[in-house]
């Protein structure tokens, strides 16, 4: 699939939200779209998904498509299963296949017990699960996710991460926007940045440069580090140090909290050294 010279504006004579966008969307690729609020990410996704036609340029070779919006406050007069089965048919599945897929995806997202609940009575998170299931149930060739993870619980986010990986492995194209920079980290094949109406390809996500703090600490003999340390520090033995001495490297924002946790542990950890390390800028 390919976008050539695509432009999009709202209203005749309105300002261009997107201009001269060229994008290559190969099969079997995971593509991430980034950009500031209001930069036109969602507009780009709507054009890619075929919900809006471009006002300039052309979009070619779009496969069967599914779209998942950020919020799905669907005041629709359906039950969860009813909506998913109907949408499965709209996506081109047969009656039996649609019903089966609807049940399977609700189960996978842990919403099986809401199968017969009306959409208007579902919580925000469960509504979002229905929207995501709608996008996945017909195994589309192109899946467009506009912050689809927002509102999902951690378990469901993992399920969605895995489903996205499966779609890509099956030769589908997945395009996504998410506010979490760590979302599907290391899995995306290409990054696109939307800025001032233009879209440019980036080599990879630029990690945010962050000041870090190195803490050397030693625990009581044979003690394990306390679980769930603040800031999720990188942990290694101190080179040439005594057995039991560890070096923890953590973002500066979490260093005080990490120290507090180590000192508050029973039995307490002994701090040998705290060294700030400025990020390379």
């Amino acid at each position: 699939m390919r976008l050539t010279g695509v432009g999009r504006r709202y209203g005749i004579g309105g300002p261009w939200v997107l201009r001269d966008v060229g994008m290559e969307l190969p099969a079997g690729a995971l593509l991430r779209v980034q950009g500031a609020n209001g930069s036109g990410k969602s507009t780009l996704l709507r054009v890619i998904a075929g919900i809006d036609a471009p006002d300039a340029g052309r979009v070619e070779g779009r496969p069967r498509t599914a779209y998942v919006p950020e919020r799905f406050p669907a005041a629709l007069p359906f039950t969860a299963t009813g909506y998913l089965t109907t949408m499965g048919r709209v996506h081109g599945l047969g009656r039996a296949a649609a019903a089966r897929a609807a049940g399977e995806w609700l189960e996978r997202f842990g919403a099986g017990h809401h199968a017969r609940t009306r959409l208007s009575q579902l919580s925000k998170g469960t509504s979002q699960k229905v929207a995501v299931a709608q996008g996945l149930l017909a195994a589309p060739g192109l899946l467009v996710l506009d912050e689809a993870w927002t509102g999902l619980d951690p378990a469901s986010r993992t399920v969605l991460d895995r489903a996205v990986a499966d779609r890509v492995a099956d030769g589908g194209t997945v395009v996504f926007v998410d506010h979490d920079p760590g979302r599907l980290a290391g899995r995306a094949d290409a990054f696109f940045r939307v800025e001032a109406g233009r879209v440019r390809r980036e080599r990879e996500a630029v990690p945010v440069a962050e000041d870090r703090v190195r803490i050397e600490a030693e625990g009581p003999a044979g003690a394990e580090l306390p679980p769930a340390l603040p800031g999720d520090p990188a942990c290694e033995p101190v080179p040439g140090g005594r057995p039991g001495a560890v070096r923890l490297t953590v973002g500066a924002a979490h260093s005080d909290e990490l120290l507090r946790t180590l000192l508050a542990a029973r039995p307490a950890w002994h701090i040998h050294a705290v060294t700030p390390r400025e990020a390379n800028r």
Partner: protein, 222 residues
């Protein structure tokens, strides 16, 4: 398309938003159609009432989905087909309503001319009444398609606009609805049964044109 129509029809039925236009239609019909009145006049009246009702049903169908759900359906089948399904659902609902009302008129009306002197054959008269109803339904779809989303998005414009244009479409010179209804009333006076086929063809062309415009615009804006 069948799956889309089923989706839209389920939305329409379960949303209960058809109740208001149905009551509107029913009340006007109760006022205007009396048992024992000349059947062709009653057919003309029933068809005329169907025009604004259909335009209202179109408004119900094209505004039934929340934007997020509309986007999901539009991504699956394209915005043109998604919008077309909404318009077709309204047309089918209106055709069903028109048929039911024609059956009632045929049952209660007197198969006689306006002055009750000439007998009017009931079967051809019913056919003429059905065709007139279809003319008005098609014109109602055209009015509804042009006066609502995606062309007129603000409720403040769309609702009065729909009703005003629907009434105009009944009376304005050159309208196929007016042509069909005058054929029926003229036939009632003379005691003959003219099936208004030319207005039907014209109304079909108008409905197709308006539908094409609305569907094309739905690719560009919400």
């Amino acid at each position: 398309m069948t799956a889309l129509l089923r989706y839209q029809a389920t939305l329409l039925i379960r949303s209960h938003r058809w109740l208001a236009p149905l009551l509107f239609h029913g009340i006007l019909l109760c006022i205007g159609v009396r048992p024992g009145e000349p059947v062709l006049d009653s057919f003309a009246y029933a068809a005329a009432v169907l025009l604004p009702t259909t335009a209202w049903l179109v408004r119900v169908c094209v505004t039934n989905e929340p934007p997020a759900a509309r986007a999901c359906a539009a991504a699956a089948v394209g915005p043109v087909r998604a919008h077309l399904a909404a318009l077709l659902t309204a047309l089918l609902a209106s055709a069903a309503l028109g048929t039911a009302c024609a059956a009632v008129v045929a049952a209660v009306g007197a198969p006689r001319s306006t002055d009750h002197r000439v007998a009017v054959p009931l079967l051809p008269a019913t056919l003429a009444g059905l065709v007139a109803a279809l003319v008005c339904a098609l014109l109602g779809v055209a009015v509804g398609a042009l006066c609502n989303r995606p062309l007129l998005r603000s409720t403040a414009w769309a609702v009065p606009g729909t009703m005003l244009v629907a009434c105009l479409a009944l009376f304005v010179w050159g309208s196929p609805a007016r042509a069909a209804l005058s054929r029926l009333t003229a036939g009632s006076i003379s005691g003959s049964v003219p099936v208004p086929l030319p207005p039907l063809a014209f109304a079909a062309v108008l409905a197709a044109g308006a539908t094409a415009v609305a569907c094309a615009v739905s690719r560009r804006r919400e």
